[in-house]
C-alpha cells in the first residue's frame, strides 16, 4: 500500500493531481472512490430497473445496528465487519423473504422492516456509545475519510472483486428476471433465486461503501447515477457504462471537494451526484443526438 501512496503523493507534489492528495487519508479516499464508484454505478442499473431504491436505503440503515452488534461482539471499533455485513445481509434476506411470501406491497414490507431496524439501531447505539468513541460511529452514518483504514481498502477491494465477478456472471439473467418474471421462468431461469443472489451482492456493495458515503446517503450513489444515465440512453449497454461513469465522477469529484471543505464526504458526493442528474436531464435533447451505438 505504501508504494501506491508514494506514487500518488508524487503525482500530487508534481502537480499532476491536486495538492490535497499529498495527504494519506485523501489518497485512501481516492482509491476507494475508484474501486467502488464503477461498481455502485453498475449495481445501480439493476436497483433502478427493479425498483429497489427503498430496499437499498433500508440495508444502509441497518448499518447502525450492524456496527453496534459488532462492537458488542467485541470487534474493533474501526473494523466491525462481522456485525455490519452479517446484520445487513440478514436484513436484506428477511426483506426479500417477506416480500415474496406476503401479499403486501413491496414498499409496505420494506417500511415495516425499516421501522424495526431503525428502532433497534437507536437502542443499541445508545447502549454502546457510552463505552466507545462516537466519532467512529458517525463515520458510518455520514461517511468520513478520516476513519478509512488500509484494512478497509483491502476489504473494499476484495469485496468489490467478488461482487464484480458474480454480478457480471449473473447480470443478463438478473436483468431478464427483473424485466418479466414469467418470461424468465419460461426460459428456464429462477427469478426468485436470482433475486436472492442479487440482494446479497447489493448488500456487500452497500456495506463496503459505507465509510466513504455513509449509511444515510448510500442510496444516492446507487440510484442517482443510474437514474441520470437512464434519462439519456435507450439501450442496456450504454445505460450500464454511463451509470458507471456518472457514479465514478460523482465519488471522485465529491471526494476532492470534501477534502477542501470541512464537510462529510458522503454529503458532497450526494450533491455532486444530484448535479450530474439535473445536468443530464437538461442536456438530454443534445446528448440524445450523440447516440450510444451498439457495436
Amino acid at each position: 500500500m505504501e508504494y501506491i501512496y508514494g506514487l500518488i503523493r508524487n503525482l500530487a507534489e508534481t502537480g499532476w493531481l491536486p495538492s490535497i492528495f499529498e495527504h494519506t487519508f485523501m489518497i485512501r479516499g481516492l482509491l476507494a472512490s475508484l474501486i467502488i464508484g464503477p461498481l455502485l454505478g453498475g449495481i445501480g442499473t439493476v436497483v433502478v430497473t427493479r425498483k429497489l431504491s427503498f430496499f437499498t436505503q433500508t440495508i444502509g440503515n441497518g448499518a447502525m445496528s450492524g456496527v453496534a452488534i459488532g462492537l458488542l461482539m467485541g470487534e474493533p471499533v474501526d473494523a466491525t465487519y462481522g456485525g455490519l455485513y452479517g446484520f445487513c445481509l440478514l436484513v436484506a434476506l428477511v426483506m426479500t423473504y417477506v416480500k415474496n411470501r406476503s401479499r403486501l406491497a413491496n414498499d409496505t414490507v420494506i417500511g415495516v422492516v425499516l421501522a424495526q431496524i431503525f428502532g433497534l439501531g437507536i437502542i443499541l447505539m445508545i447502549f454502546v456509545t457510552s463505552q466507545f468513541n462516537i466519532h467512529q460511529v458517525e463515520g458510518i452514518l455520514f461517511g468520513s475519510l478520516i476513519t478509512l483504514t488500509d484494512l478497509d481498502l483491502i476489504t473494499l477491494g476484495v469485496a468489490s472483486l467478488l461482487v464484480w465477478i458474480l454480478f457480471s456472471w449473473n447480470f443478463n439473467k438478473v436483468m431478464l428476471g427483473g424485466f418479466n418474471a414469467i418470461l424468465a421462468r419460461s426460459r428456464g431461469l429462477s427469478p426468485v433465486l436470482l433475486e436472492y443472489v442479487f440482494v446479497c451482492l447489493l448488500t456487500l456493495v452497500v456495506v463496503a461503501s459505507l465509510k466513504l458515503i455513509g449509511a444515510l446517503l448510500v442510496l444516492v450513489l446507487v440510484v442517482v447515477p443510474a437514474a441520470a444515465a437512464q434519462t439519456v440512453v435507450g439501450n442496456l449497454r450504454g445505460f450500464v457504462w454511463l451509470s458507471m461513469v456518472f457514479s465514478t465522477f460523482s465519488t471522485t469529484v465529491g471526494l476532492l471537494l470534501s477534502g477542501l471543505l470541512p464537510v462529510p464526504s458522503g454529503a458532497v458526493i450526494a450533491l455532486v451526484s444530484a448535479l450530474v442528474f439535473y445536468l443530464a436531464l437538461l442536456l438530454r435533447p443534445l446528448l440524445n443526438r450523440v447516440r450510444f451505438r451498439q457495436p
Partner: protein, 245 residues
Amino acid sequence: MAVDVEKADTGLGSPGDEPLLKIRDLSVTLKGNRILRGVDLQVRKGNIHALIGPNGAGKTTLIRSITGAIPHRGLIRFFFRGNGRIGYVPQLLEFDRSMPITVFDFFYIMLKRTPIFLGGKRRMREKINRILAATGCEHLMERRIGDLSGGELRRVLLAQALEPKPELLLLDEPASNIDEVGARRFEKMLVELKKRQGLTILMVSHYMQSVLYVADRVTAINGRVIYEGDAQELTLSDLLKTIAT
C-alpha cells in the same frame, strides 16, 4: 344460420395421431378457489390445438400449469424427442416501459452469458437478425421494447419463443391487443411456421374465426373439458354454442 369460415391450408392432411402432450385429471386450486378440475387433454404432434372458453374458464391457468409456473394435481406428460423445449408467449407481458432495453438487448440477455456491457459482438447482431426474421420484425432490432405497439411486441415475443426451436409452442391469446389486420397477419404467420417447421402449437384464443382458420383440433373448457373435436368438422355457430353452455 350456420356460418362457415375459411380454413387454412395447414400443409398436412389429417391431424397426426402421435401425442406430444398428454394431460390426465388435471386439477388446480389457487387461493382456495378451484380453477380446474379433472381436465383431460391430448395435443398431437404437428397440430395447432386451440383452447377456447369463456373468461375465467381456466385457460391461462392450464397453460401456466404446463409451463410449471403454478402447482397442480394430476398428470402432465410430454413425449418429446428432441430438446424438450417449450416456447411460451404470454397473453400480457407486464414490464416497465421506461426500461432502457432495446429488442437487441432483450434477445442478447436471453441468449448470452457474457454480460451485455462487456459483449455486443457483431455475430450476435447477425444471429438476432435471423431470429427476428422468422416473424418479420428485423426492423425492430434497435427499437426500445417499451416503444413497441401491441402487434410488434407480440411478434417479438413469438420470435423469442421460437429460439431455440421448441418442441411445443404455447400461445396465450396471441391476437389480444392487436388490431384486425395485425391479428390476421399473425394467424398466417402461425400457419406458415407450422408448415415450414412442423411446430406443435397449443393456443388459447377468444376469437372463434381465428380458431376455425388455423386450428386442427379444438378443446373447450370451463373449469373442466366441455368439448373436444376436430376443427375441420366445426362451424362458427357450433363453437359459439359450445362456449355458451
